[in-house]
Amino acid sequence: MADTLLWEDTTFVEEVERRSGSPVSACFQCHKCSTGCPTAPEMDLLASPIMRLVHLGEEQAVLESRAIWLCASCEACTTRCPMGIDAAAVMDALRMMAVERKVAIPDARGEKFNRSFLGSVRRHGRVFELGMMAAYKLRSGDLFSDVDKFPRMLAKGKISLLPKRSGEAKRLREIFRRAEEEDKKR
């Protein structure tokens, strides 16, 4: 934690505001975001303290938290914030910054799931569930969770053995490439 409450370094808060398009510095700690958050019981930092730590420039504490990866993007905080802060977009911005700055992510399952999911979309134009799940399991090392559900899902036609490709899959690879370039310019 900072030893002073003065805003000594505004770089971090400005960056988070720019990326999220939200006036994070307007947060006055009413805690509505934290009290309505469905995943608060599992979080190491609640949403409102995260806003305060962003004010204080505590980049490492925020970007290395588990909390930013436990946000389910349900938008309850965004809907209820009296200052118009899109707190869910703030969480998105923090996750992207954590990946870009290569900080030590304490629980990388979310990041690994995202990569597996988007890899599937990049390849097929749509999500191929079985391939995506296999990729995620290999990346995370979490090989056995939910395997009990596979036979039932297969029997009920809820996962298929072959991908359903979009005719736009080829064009989508170019779109992914250009989006990556544009992300770098942001």
Binding site: S73, A76, M96, V127, L172, I175, E182
Partner: protein
């Protein structure tokens, strides 16, 4: 009434029953759906938490196709719905985002294609009066907890076909077909959504809270309108019971499946066999005509 239909990836796999029942009730109510040719994934949560550029570009590829079809879009997945609407919102309000998305997709788009959720189309375009008229087998006595989850009604600047804290459209729809929606306080609480893959324990806790509260309010089943909610409440229901205390079997049906039953469609036409927690006993226990339902 004609729409460019965007099924989305879940409706091709884990939620094929949502796709089947959406198409079946649309047909029964003279809502014409033309699937967007070669649609691509909307990017869902992984895109908006990973790449701001991709999160807008992927939905826009589909919206550009719908624009070429000259039709408003209808989708059933709550996540696709939110992503498509969010992309429109960004394109309309941020000229930089619009220029960037044009560079990425190499096509212009002005954010003008309307995006509707099937629930919105049913309640506001077809209308509950018309639907009441078409009922063949009223769901009399069926006590149902309508569950909206997060993305159908939030954030209100982006979605906005119902109240973000106390939506009523699903209750209005199911009341029109004879069911008895219960009042309960958690209808817009999140089920954990895509944490399902990575943090199943969190989802188990939330699903348990939702199902037990629905039961406490007197419901015998849940009506849902999102593929993620359905998986978390149905496929994960047994795990939730094991981890947090026994739950009575509580079927979680898509609102289109319940509506389809009331319109006289057969369970197979609505994909009821895909439910993990079967709805058979529930439906035989009500005033619904038995023979038709088990066929």
């Amino acid at each position: 009434m004609k729409y460019a239909y965007f099924p989305g990836c879940s409706l091709e796999s884990t939620a094929w029953d949502f796709d089947r029942s959406t198409r079946a009730v649309s047909r029964a109510l003279d809502v014409e759906l033309e699937e967007i040719p070669d649609w691509v994934c909307c990017g869902s949560t992984p895109a908006h938490t990973t790449s701001a550029s991709l999160a807008t570009a992927l939905p826009v590829v589909n919206l550009q196709k719908a624009h070429a079809m000259g039709l408003p879009v209808m989708t059933a997945c709550a996540s696709c719905y939110a992503r498509l609407r969010t992309a429109n919102h960004k394109i309309r309000n941020d000229p930089e985002e619009r220029a960037r998305t044009q560079r990425i997709t190499q096509q212009a788009y002005d954010g003008g294609v309307p995006v509707r959720h099937v629930l919105d189309v049913l309640v506001n375009d077809v209308g509950t009066a018309e639907i009441r008229h078409r009922v063949k087998r009223p769901l009399t006595g069926l006590r149902v907890a309508c569950y909206y989850g997060c993305l159908l009604t939030r954030p209100p600047e982006v979605v906005a076909f119902d109240d973000p804290e106390h939506p009523r459209s699903m209750e209005d729809l199911l009341e029109a077909v004879g069911a008895e929606p219960v009042e309960w306080p958690l209808k817009t609480e999140c089920c954990g959504a895509s944490l399902s893959m990575t943090h199943a324990g969190v989802v188990g806790r939330l699903s348990h809270k939702l199902i037990s509260m629905a039961r406490e309010a007197g419901a015998e089943c849940l009506a849902v309108a999102c593929p993620l909610c359905q998986v978390n409440l149905d496929l994960r229901q047994a795990d939730a019971g094991k981890a947090h205390g026994d739950l009575p079997d509580t079927p979680a049906l898509y609102v289109t499946q319940l509506l389809g039953l009331a319109l006289g469609l057969a369970p197979k036409q609505l994909g009821l066999e895909a439910l993990t927690v079967s709805a058979d006993s529930l439906l035989t226990g009500t005033g619904l005509a038995m023979g038709d339902l088990t066929g």
